[in-house]
Symmetry: C5
């Protein structure tokens, strides 16, 4: 399966607006975790049948519906009809190969983001699609699997830390997005450290292993870039959106989130360039080393080749070979050998090859 | 014939607005398949003479005229006069080297797209020009050959699946464009998988065959890019067009189509970069391998060259060569040989070449 | 003379607005070919003295003045005063190093284009400057030499083909520009075919000749790009200009021309990229070949170097060399040689160098 | 710790708007240096408890509060409440990994810049975060450590040089930003000189040391670029901001500052390109040198290999080897050796390899 | 001193708006050459004390004050107060490292350009800063040294050539800028010719000298680019400025100047690309040559190494070596040698290495 493009075959011939799950089934059944809160009270429950979601009786509480499991379109359709979700939106939620985006509807804002996860052993980044729908007093989130980066937000809601219990669903949405983008930066930092360490390694050794690392990081950084760039676009549009669902008091936070996203994109770009530079340096070092080796071979050969030749000449069996008769021939022969070697070495010195 | 630019010679000296077929004749005769439908009824027929197309008596049905075969301008002119098509539009329809585009006219919208087809044996992408004209209740499509990616749409019309039977010609047009763009993604995914597999292959073997593959994919990705980028532009313009022919209810679908096209363009760009990276890695690996080979040769030569020289010296036939007389000369000789070899190998170790 | 920038020295110290001919004189004398036509009649004549151009008595005909020869500013000034041409415009007409552009004046539109010509023997593109001035009922064109790509237009006027005899000077101008841009595409296609053929050639042979071809096409494509890009800009501006001189009925044709120019620019860019890719592949192939050669040399040397060394050892003349005495020494010696060779070859196999 | 991205782990799970110090603690305690001045008087004092900052009794003086030490959020919160600073702003001040930016609030303008410092021994650039808040008559600056580039500004205030004593807090802010950007240019110039010197060095020697330098400068220039580009953006926005806090008379100075920042960014880009060019040239020189070496080795080998072979032939011990018997064989043998050598050298000359 | 950034150290701690000369003093004293003219009269004089500049009694003449020498801020301040020049403007005039720019003030337009000079022996471009201030009837120009590219303009004023004597200070300013930009093109052409000549040279010889030339031109083209790009920006802004100081009649000339600047920037970019291509070709040629050399060495070695080995075998002194006894052994030996050589050469032919 192509990693940079999720399985499209599954969607061939599909009716537009029809929810089809694209991806790998990762949880057994669809469930919905509900947190209702206001400044005074907090209520948590979990629903396993999306048909029987609890009635939202009044506007007194902010209600966060966190639905896990996207593999069962039928179950999700129940939720869709409960929350009055447009079919195209539901289609985007279940198509986990969706590009991150933000869309404004009459009574809701729909956001698709990616939650990323870095497996340090495999040196590979995985992403999971997270969709958010903001409505008046309601925030609905959709995830593929259990386990997310939202626990700090849950803690803040439960422990009443910060201003979250006094704010509306827009702030809750911001808090979740902020967790996602913060998580990007944490993972970029992890890879970044490895890349920066690599720089020293390259100067020391130019093995295929080092090259493999450069290659791996390049691919992961490409993957991150592809994921984060549309996220930044969406945050940008979200921060300037003119909607009743976004209060003025939340805007500075969204601006802050935009700063964070911009930083994420810029750092990813910088690491991309650093990796390209590293590959260049790596190549140059290899060339340098080849030069050094060849210089050595050339010098070595050049010194001994003429000497061997001379030995060969006096190893011939010509009957009449006058030099062989003289008593000191052998020592003169050695003298010539040494003289020749010295001259060649001096020639190399002059050429600056030694 | 240049693949990236269709035969222009044929159009030299041509009158602007004159329909001239550019390309290779692919079907025997021009034919028109007609599907008329509304929520209640559906009627299918095929016309082989474009002069005698059936009258559209009332506005009760949506009528899709799918004309196959562009090689016969005379026949097409009949259809043009029947549908009141501008000569410049007809010219664009028959010029199969046309760049994908969207144009708005008073009573119609004219769209030129490419339908692509991937021959996995030849590893080559072929494209066929598809032109669409949207009019009130009417959609006219023009194709070069029989066989297209529209069958799922036909099925949906016939089987009344989804909302298509309740919608107008704008939705039908969307459905067709959606099939085309979906098909792009399916083909990108096919090539993408091959490209991602290639990454492992390169690290294992750096044969010319691997290089040939990189080259092939590069060229096909270039070709895809050239085809898809103007398509995205056209979808973008279509999604914001202010025309009576496009209903508000179809706009979200066009937005969705734009997302899809954007994704297609982005993924193609990503694969382009990945292929460039792969070529870089390939080159570096070759250099690495050369280094390894040269190191081996150098070490081997450096060890044996001086030994051969020494053998040569004691193979000379000088009459007075004192060392040859001593009883243990031969064993001392071997000692020197081994000592020399060891010293050279240690030198290499120190230089980190071994 | 720099090919990418025409002789600027000639214009040093020149008064702005002064017409100075920059280039090489290519015709003997300035002449003007005049075609006057309307739907009913057509009149052709040639004037050799630009002072005595025929009076345009009425607005009944469209008059195309095609002036050939830019080397004689004095003669051209006569025409300038006859047609009331701004000195800066005349300066641009005679300065054949002018960048393609479009300028709007009160009573006229001034366009500078390049007519290109591909000498297939020299594999070189030459360009000639063509300037057009549109006025009410009048079109004036300026060329450096006789012979142009406008003959099909002349034929259409003479033979009353298409709509040209019913249209105004704006349509005539469009027809001429269309001929020019069509000609670009024809020449791009010619070079394009050669470039696409080259791809196969590179995979087969990596001679300097192939490299020379890549280089030649790169330079010509650069030259084309430099010529065509400002042309596209000008067509873009012309297609949206708000001038009485451009009728609404001509606009769709200008849009079409813009499509054509965009396609020209895009194809040139694509070929540029293909050539860069080809150079990369070429380099990689050379490296691959070097590797293959070096592997061969290394294997060959590695097998024979130790064998020669052993022969050398038993070629020494030590008086006491026990091995030489045994009867089967020679055969054991051969045995050792063969064993050594086999071991080395196996080592190479294991290293995957064979 | 990744250098291109400050420690994000510390901020995981943090409440938005909560001030958390990210970085390394660099001073013992937080202190505040206060300079109050107008045209007539100047007062300087230092506060070590941010709770007891002196009351600003009237609007007669401009007050510059320079707070040093960001590691103690509690202490800073006191200042925040004293100056009425938004929690998000305080968070940005203490997060020393913040991207340079400018933000407008109702009663204040908030600016985050980087002060850079170049350690010439380590050839490394360090940056320190400087935050500025402009309010009516008040400027608050936050730094990580003692020691900054603001001394010239302090001198100008103390010695009443220039117009600073007659201007408001906006001009003071400009003066500080100007010092920061001026300092960028000074450091760019230092590195720039080294880079330009390197150019000569490369042409002379292609050692690994030279390569290490190119690498070091590339990384530092990347670092500078990452720091300075958002600074330019911020200055751009500051120069067009429509705020009561920025007087018209200060605008030309901000325009000037923008020119300076633009120049900084452009020069950094230019040096980036020069370094890339240098690496290219370096690589080409290495290749050239390898060629030269290999040519030498090839020539040397080619001359002696056949000679050694011939010696070998006449060194064989065949009983019947007629040439060995003739009296002048040895001299003819030498003649053949010399003739062969000369022919080979001539062949090389012809091939232009010598 | 960094060439791409003028000495910034000198300006550290400087008061904004304080004129400080940055650069190398190039003339002895500041002087001002004054040309006053209208259609009827012309007056030229030179002032050596900027305090006693002649009164401009009426608006009857256009007055061009050309001040040479920027090293003496005190003297320039006199002129500044005489002409009522803003301190920031004076600062920019004396800071010869200023980036080219255009600024509009209430009663004046301030332009900073660079005058370039190409030393063909050193193959180096030098630039000198030229500042212009346009006021009603007055044009003030500031130069570092005597000698400029304005003589043709002076001649046109003196000899009443062209329209300059009838136009205002805006046209005079245009004339001067036109001279500067024309001069850019002349110098680009000079370098361009050398670059285009280089192309042939590279295909013939790949010496270090050729590489040095590529490097030199790359650096100079970078330098030109850095100088000319902001000039184009300024001309662009000048051509659309809405100021009373620029008459409508001058606008076409400014448009023309913009065309010229655009052409300059484009040609510089083209030459940059050509140089990059040349370096690529150069590298490929080196690789090709290396390949050729290595092929030769490999073939040569491969032919002789086995022959030498065989000679070695029959040069051994084994007592029992049967082949040596046969009468025709020697001739059979030669036969085997020749057969082996032929087989190896055929193998090479098959491998396409010969």
């Amino acid at each position: 399966m192509a990693r940079f493009l999720k399985n499209k075959n599954a969607s061939i011939g599909k009716i537009p607006g029809e929810a089809v799950f694209i991806g790998v089934k990762k949880v057994d059944s669809v469930s919905c975790e509900i947190i209702s809160y206001n400044n005074d009270l907090i209520r948590e429950e979990t629903a396993y049948d999306l048909k029987n979601l609890p009635k939202i009786s009044d506007n007194q509480t902010i209600n966060w519906f966190n639905i896990t499991g996207l593999h069962d379109p039928l179950e999700l359709k129940k939720a869709a009809s409960y929350f009055n979700i447009h079919p195209l939106v539901l289609e985007d939620i279940t198509n986990t190969g969706q590009r991150p985006k933000m869309e404004e509807y009459d009574d809701s804002i729909f956001i698709v983001f990616k939650m990323i996860n870095y497996d340090e052993n495999k040196e590979k980044i995985f992403n999971e699609q997270v969709s958010l729908i903001i409505k008046e007093n309601i925030l609905i989130s959709f995830q593929e699997i259990h386990g997310d980066v939202f626990d700090p937000v849950r803690e803040r809601i439960r422990k009443k830390r910060g201003r979250i219990r006094n704010m509306n669903s827009d702030y809750l949405c911001y808090a979740l997005l902020d967790s996602l983008v913060d998580n990007y930066l944490v993972i970029i930092e992890k890879i970044g450290e490895k890349i920066e360490t690599l720089e020293q390694e390259i100067l020391k050794s130019t093995t295929n292993e080092t090259l493999g690392k450069i290659n791996t990081y390049k691919r992961e950084i490409s993957y991150l870039r592809k994921t984060i760039r549309p996220v930044k676009e969406s945050v940008q549009r979200l921060s300037v959106i003119d909607s009743d669902l976004i209060n003025e008091s939340v805007r500075p936070f969204l601006k802050d989130l935009l700063d964070l996203s911009t930083q994420a994109v810029e750092v990813v770009e910088t690491y991309r360039e650093i990796l390209s530079d590293q590959l260049d340096i790596y190549n140059t070092l290899i060339n340098n080393r080849l030069n050094e080796i060849m210089k050595f071979l050339t010098m070595f050969s050049a010194v001994f080749i003429p000497l061997s030749f001379l030995s060969g000449v006096y190893g011939t069996n010509f009957e009449y070979l006058p030099e062989l008769k003289f008593k000191y021939s052998y020592f003169i022969f050695w003298g010539i050998l040494i003289f020749t070697a010295v001259m060649i070495i001096r020639f190399f010195r002059k050429k600056d090859w030694l």
